[in-house]
């Protein structure tokens, strides 16, 4: 298997899907001639030409809406948002139109669109550019949301998203773009709604998604070395659909759960996960469920404080020890 970056894995997925299906179109601000603000789409214009890889004006409501409309007629647009934070300009299209059209038409119309881009904090750019909208979007039935944490998952989930017949919103992470990992060269998919046990353990289950998985793996390492605790890390990978079985199986084994995410706590993804665990595995729990989220405030600009605001390994370790106490 080749070792490539998360960015290259995303690009490989788009490239293979552009080759496989002539209805796939990549569209967004600076994706073509500039090769992508974060170079995820680098080289695609050269290979596929301007009909398949399209630069748009700074008109998110317009071009995302256009993509949704085109998908209704069988185009499979893969729309880049330079940041998921900019989706707020196009919220009506993303939620009201893409999320409701199939339902409101009694199943007559499908909306096979992919919207992708980075949805993360930690880059020192302040509150307007640091949103993590996976919980907000996943709270709307009709919408699917995935958050890959590794290059392997990035490629597999992206390919599954493009082939999926519903709107799928892929939340990437600029801090992960240069992370490397083993990725098969050929075709494979990671189906939506399948979690992955990224580390096997016996004493505590950490449930995480996105970059919080990487943070949790670091924390698990410290817990093992410094505290002799064996931690299992479950990577959700997909927020909606959600793999309840994998979460519950792990908790039934370890009897303790810590939930880690980059979202702000109120109605975060982990609020739903906590509900599921207590409703379906209450008798298996030996301690109250623990939780680490970002500190509940708009994203602070100051880099040193932003690093404190986000879940980091030390905070995860401290919270884990509390659940284990």
């Amino acid at each position: 298997m080749a070792v490539i970056t998360y960015r290259e894995a995303l690009r490989a997925a788009m490239r293979e899907e552009l080759q496989r299906d002539e209805n796939v179109v990549v569209m967004g601000e600076e994706v073509a001639q500039f090769n992508g603000a974060y170079k995820v789409t680098e080289g695609l214009l050269k290979e596929f030409g301007p009909k398949r890889v399209v630069d748009t004006p700074i008109s998110e409501a317009g071009f995302i809406g256009l993509g949704i409309g085109a998908s209704m007629l069988g185009i499979r647009p893969v729309m880049e948002l330079m940041f998921w934070s900019f989706s707020y300009v196009a919220f009506d299209q993303i939620v009201n139109n893409a999320g409701n059209i199939r339902y409101m038409s009694g199943g007559l119309i499908n909306c096979p669109i992919v919207i992708r881009g980075p949805g993360n904090g930690g880059t020192n750019v302040g509150a307007t550019h640091s949103h993590t909208p996976e919980a907000i979007l996943a709270s709307h039935p009709g919408i699917k949301v995935v958050c890959p944490a590794t290059p392997y998952d990035a490629k597999g989930l992206m390919k599954a998203a493009i082939r999926d017949n519903d709107p799928v919103y892929v939340m990437e992470n600029t801090i992960l773009y240069n992370d490397k990992g083993e990725v098969p060269e050929g075709d494979y998919i990671v189906p939506l709604g399948v979690a992955d046990v990224k580390r096997v353990g016996t004493d505590l289950t950490i449930v995480a998604h996105g970059r919080a998985v990487i943070t949790s793996l670091k924390a698990a390492e410290i817990l093992e070395k410094e505290h002799g605790v064996s931690v299992e890390v479950v990577d959700l990978r997909s927020i909606r659909p959600l793999d309840e079985e994998t979460i519950l199986a792990s908790v039934r084994k370890t009897h303790r759960a810590l939930l880690v995410e980059e979202n702000k706590p109120f109605c975060g993804v982990d609020a739903q996960v906590a509900y599921i665990i207590q409703a379906k595995a209450f008798d298996d729990l030996d301690a109250p469920i623990g939780r680490v989220s970002s500190i509940d405030a708009p994203q602070i600009y100051c880099k040193r404080m932003e690093d404190e605001q986000l879940p980091h390994a030390a905070r995860v370790v401290a919270a884990a020890l509390k659940v284990l106490a």
């Binding site: 601000e29 600076e30 001639q33 500039f34 090769n35 603000a37 630069d55 004006p57 700074i58 008109s59 998110e60 409501a61 317009g62 934070s85 900019f86 707020y88 300009v89 880059t123 020192n124 750019v125 302040g126 509150a127 307007t128 550019h129 702000k264 706590p265 109120f266 939780r291 500190i295 509940d296 405030a297 708009p298 602070i300 600009y301 100051c302 880099k303 040193r304 404080m305 404190e308 605001q309």
Partner: protein, 368 residues
């Protein structure tokens, strides 16, 4: 109005611009010598502050995005120099020049960039989010076009209160394609708001030239006609022209309560932000042409020297003082403390920061 479509034609970059045709305009003859020197000083301060920022960024003390204003100084200098007590401004993320022009200190501006508690926003906003409401400056906004409806609201409030004032909302040539901008245009025209929409047309939105982003690219201001608004185009390399033509828009706002769209042609010398290597979408000759023949600070300097308002010696003194001021700001920013972890959850809600027996809120509002 018949207007020259493109003021940035390549031919015009080959020779230095001559003296301003607008020096004798009443808006400019109204300026005393001291006021002209002060205006030049402000432009020089913006230039040197931004150049100092580059060094601080390269030293790794500023992170995130840093969008520089170098090359565009005459736009903000010309427009803001006309404003009075009840006039307000708001802009996008390329906001340092606006801050310095309304009188923010280099210290608070630099400290904000390094995320320090002594910054204008206490290290919470950063480069894209400067604010100084005490100076009628309402930011500093990171989302392209998002500030334009807000500016329209400021104009609405000025009118509502019966004040003789207006609001200038600045945006880029790429921002004109945001839906919110058009909704704001319609509201301003429909409700006769004292509003000036200022398009700072520097030819590019990130790596996209204006022709590639915009239908009817010849003139962005002309879209005003669709809303029955007045409009004008301005050579933004000539601060006298900016003042002369903006003056008419300010009068229209103050006296008739009518909006205007101004398209000001300008140019940015550096990449979109410090993260943009600026190697692919425009050629070096173009940048050189602007720097050598259209530089707004240099052109105004020549103008003032010809008028006898400035001497080479006073010019040098002004520039040296501005550089020294920027160096002091860099030290101040370096030595200032960070906000604390406890500061992260301050300034979220007024009610939370000011809870008392008469508060209208109860219950948990910041969660763990």
């Amino acid at each position: 109005m018949a207007k020259p479509a493109v003021l940035t034609h390549p031919e015009s970059l080959k020779k230095p611009a001559g003296p301003s045709e607008f020096a004798k305009h009443p808006a400019n003859t109204a300026l005393s010598k001291a006021e002209k020197v002060a205006l030049y000083t402000k432009m020089a301060r913006i230039r040197h502050f931004e150049q100092r920022c580059i060094r601080t960024y390269q030293q790794g003390k500023i992170g995130g995005f840093l969008h520089l204003y170098v090359g565009q100084e005459a736009v903000v200098a010309g427009t803001v120099s006309l404003l009075g007590k009840h006039d307000h401004i708001i802009t996008g993320y390329r906001d340092h020049g606006h801050g310095l022009m309304v009188g923010m200190s280099m210290n608070e501006c630099m400290a904000e960039l390094t995320g320090k508690v002594t910054g204008c926003s206490q290290g919470k906003g950063g480069s894209m989010h400067y604010f100084a409401p005490d100076k009628n400056y309402w930011g500093g906004h990171g989302i392209v076009g998002g500030q334009v409806p807000l500016g329209t609201g400021l104009a609405y409030a000025v009118k509502y209160k019966g004040l003789k004032g207006c609001c200038l909302a600045y945006m880029g040539d790429g921002a004109v394609n945001q839906g919110a901008v058009h909704e704001a245009y319609n509201l301003a025209a429909l409700w006769d708001l004292p509003m000036i929409f200022v398009i700072e047309n520097n030819g590019y939105s990130m790596g996209t030239s204006q022709e590639r982003s915009t239908a009817h690219p010849g003139c962005l201001a002309k879209r005003a006609e669709g809303y029955g608004m007045a409009w004008d185009v301005i050579n933004g390399h000539d601060v006298y022209e900016v003042r002369a033509k903006t003056d008419a828009a300010v009068k229209r706002a103050h006296e008739e309560s009518k909006p205007t769209v101004l398209e000001i042609f300008t140019y940015r010398y550096f990449g979109h932000s410090m993260a943009d290597p600026d190697k692919t979408y425009r050629d070096k000759e173009e940048i050189k042409g602007y720097r050598e023949n259209k530089d707004p600070v240099l052109l105004f300097e020549n103008e003032l020297i010809a008028e006898g308002v400035l001497t080479p010696a006073t010019r040098d003194a002004i520039n040296e003082a501005a550089m020294a001021e920027a160096d002091v700001a860099a030290v101040f920013a370096e030595e200032s403390p960070d906000p604390t972890v406890a500061d992260i959850t301050k300034h979220i809600y007024w009610e939370e920061d000011n809870r008392g027996p008469n508060s209208t809120s109860r219950g948990t509002i910041i969660f763990e």
